[in-house]
């Protein structure tokens, strides 16, 4: 396919099955590539003949579907339901009456130095348009996802704080539940340090086992999230990614919090006289 111009919304797609005025067919009809979702939703196949027109029920061109195009992993496309078709540039310009105009050029250069000098040269020569590097475009168009990332990070921090409080609470309750056992051990002569270490060891073990279960659960949920949203939005985009770094951070945090909670609970318990732990 040649390079195509996409004028979103400037083109309306109509089925060949409808009785529509069309321009005299060009011989042979030119080819287009259509969105895979469009093909699925309307039962169109490669080789089918369709009519494309700029307005509903307006005059259009008869074309042949030459290929189906899958959406790219572009986050900005995710929530947009609009279909896309790829058309020969000159044909689209003629069809929508756009004349010898385009919305943008993509320029390939030899290396970064070439890109910088091309940017300068284009900006100096241009009037009415501006040249951007791909990096600048990527940064600008990523603003939405930066906002989403910040939001996720904020939710993550709140979740960690909440989890820490819950963990501390439950550890305190569970350790407190065994205060008679601790009292008995103290009266037998076991030192405070030994008791604290055993509680911390226990909480560390629980934290490690819980982390392993959490990582497995997180990986499973991540896989489910990707499967679900890829199906809903019909996109190959990966929504959730569990990386080694994320696992290390999550396990480190949870084990650290678990040990801290156990230490705090144990210290609280061993500070009290053994007989008071018996309720005497």
């Amino acid at each position: 396919m040649t390079a195509a111009l996409l004028l979103r919304g400037a083109l309306t797609f109509l089925f060949a099955a409808q009785s529509i005025d069309s321009l005299p067919p060009r011989h042979p009809p030119r080819s287009v590539a259509i969105d895979e979702r469009l093909a699925q939703d309307y039962g169109i196949h490669v080789g089918d003949t369709i009519v494309i027109a700029p307005t509903p029920q307006g005059k259009g061109d008869t074309v042949i579907v030459d290929a189906l195009v899958r959406r790219t992993r572009d986050p900005s496309e995710v929530a947009r339901g609009a279909y896309r078709i790829r058309v020969h540039l000159d044909e689209l310009q003629r069809l929508v009456g756009y004349g010898d105009r385009v919305e943008r050029f993509a320029v390939g250069t030899r290396g970064t130095a070439g890109a910088d000098s091309a940017l300068t040269a284009i900006d100096d020569a241009a009037f009415g348009f501006h040249a951007y590097s791909s990096h600048e475009i990527a940064v600008e168009s990523s603003t939405t996802f930066l906002v989403v990332s910040r939001f996720h990070r904020a939710i993550g921090v709140i979740t960690i704080v909440a989890s820490a409080i819950f963990l501390l609470c439950i550890m305190l309750l569970k350790v407190d539940e065994r205060r008679r056992d601790v009292a008995a051990l103290r009266l037998m002569g076991i030192s405070r340090g030994t008791i604290v270490r055993s509680v911390v060891l226990e909480s560390a073990l629980i934290a490690v086992l819980g982390s392993i279960a959490g990582v497995a659960l997180g990986a499973a949920v991540s896989a489910f999230v990707n499967w679900h949203y890829q199906r809903v939005y019909r996109t190959p985009l990966t929504f959730s990614l569990v990386t080694g770094q994320i696992v290390v951070i999550a396990v480190g945090l949870s084990v650290g919090l678990g040990i801290f909670a156990g230490l705090l609970a144990a210290q609280r318990l061993v500070r009290r006289p053994p007989l008071s732990l018996f309720g005497r």
């Binding site: 919304g9 400037a10 307005t55 603003t143 906002v147 909440a162 409080i165 609470c169 439950i170």
Partner: protein, 395 residues
């Protein structure tokens, strides 16, 4: 007596009780935030759409308003057709474009809305008056600051560029007669309002008698959905979108947040439930002897269960009240993050507090508190008295 015993039990282990309440508060805050997130977008967007009283919007066929550069042709005929309908009170046509305000040797781009001042629903007048003449505009503060002008000044404005002649096209001198706030634009977006025919003329033949959007105000007694269907069937070049439809379509795009809200809200509720269950279970296990003694002296099982339930519910309710305050603070913070979405109208709020949300969260937590305590309470109160006394109270 039940209340006294419940209070005494909670006070006996202050640290534990406070920590549990804090845990519930965090859970309640998260739950409230998620309830606000799930409902806020819809309520906020809905009230924004009907703020000016227009219930239906007409956009080029197959598109949403201002989603693309497409325009509706034969606008004047369509307006006549709409005004002929008995259920239509007013029609406001809007043409969107990008204009360039000359500022020294450079230019400042601004969004331009071509409207008819008498029926427009896109901006609120702050000072001055709405533009009615071909040489008048009203601008928002962002644009006025960007070009360093004020009311009464004249600006040179162009519609486009001719790269071959290296000049601006569609140039006009326009006087700023009003300072306005655009209802549907994002914060900081530079914009101006100009009479519709003036903008169409500046844009050239490609925009003659064309608009980007038509807003329709119906009579109070009109059925919005039948009016929408009737309009779409009679005018084939437009898609008619009611407020309800627009909300659904925006919600579909932002459904991720609603689903996230549901998941996190459910997790918060589950964790709060778990916390109270654990607390009540531990508390009951510690007091098995005490419970057996109470039962031995004639206190009924149901009274003991009630006492324990009151403890669990009290923790939940106090925690929930604290959590409501905490939730409002975190909601404000989270909303400030999401408000930075590019292109989001300034008036949209993701976390909108409605008293109904607070009652819903409180109610859910209260029910959770009761359910969390039922099983451990009943189990503790159902142990055989003599056996429990021998093991716990006597030993």
């Amino acid at each position: 007596m039940i209340l006294t015993l419940a209070r005494a039990s909670l006070v006996r282990h202050r640290a534990r009780t406070l920590l549990a309440m804090l845990g519930v508060a965090v859970s309640a805050a998260m739950l409230l935030d998620m309830v606000m997130l799930a409902t806020g977008m819809r309520a906020s967007f809905g009230s924004l759409l009907v703020a000016q009283g227009f219930q239906i919007r007409l956009a080029p066929k197959g598109t949403l308003p201002f989603d693309t550069d497409a325009t509706i042709p034969d606008a004047s005929d369509i307006i006549q057709q709409l005004m002929a309908r008995r259920d239509v009170v007013a029609v406001s046509p809007v043409l969107g474009a990008q204009l360039h305000v000359e500022h020294g040797s450079a230019s400042v781009s601004a969004a331009a809305l071509g409207t008819i001042a008498a029926v427009q629903g896109d901006y609120k007048l702050l000072t001055g008056r709405a533009p009615t003449g071909d040489d008048e505009i009203a601008a928002n503060d962002a644009l006025l600051e960007a070009v360093g002008t004020k009311l009464g000044d004249t600006l040179r404005v162009a519609a486009g560029f001719d790269p071959q002649l290296r000049t601006f096209t569609g140039r006009r001198s326009l006087r700023v007669v009003g300072r306005v706030h655009f209802i549907y634009l994002s914060a900081g977006e530079r914009a101006l309002a100009i009479p519709l025919d003036a903008l169409q003329s500046m844009e050239g033949p490609s925009r003659t008698n064309r608009v980007s959007l038509l807003m329709v105000r119906l009579r109070d007694s009109a059925n919005v959905e039948s009016a929408r269907t009737g309009i779409e069937q009679s005018i084939h070049t437009v898609s008619a979108i009611s407020t309800a439809t627009a909300i659904e379509q925006v919600e579909a795009r932002l459904s991720y947040f609603r689903q996230l809200a549901f998941i996190l809200g459910s997790v918060s509720l589950a964790v709060g439930f778990l916390l109270v269950t654990t607390l009540v279970t531990v508390s009951v296990n510690e007091r098995l002897g005490e419970i057996a003694v109470l039962r031995a002296i004639g206190v009924r099982r149901t009274s003991i269960v009630k006492q324990i339930l009151i403890e669990g519910t009290a923790i939940m309710l106090v925690g929930a009240v604290v959590g409501l305050g905490l939730g409002l603070v975190t909601a404000r913070y989270l909303n400030s993050i999401l408000a930075a979405f590019p292109g989001l109208p300034e008036a949209i709020s993701f976390f909108l507090f409605q008293p109904r949300d607070a009652w819903l969260s409180l109610g859910l937590l209260a029910v959770c508190g009761i359910l969390a305590g039922i099983y451990p309470a009943w189990r503790g109160a159902s142990r055989p008295i003599a056996h429990t006394l021998r093991e716990e109270a006597v030993a």
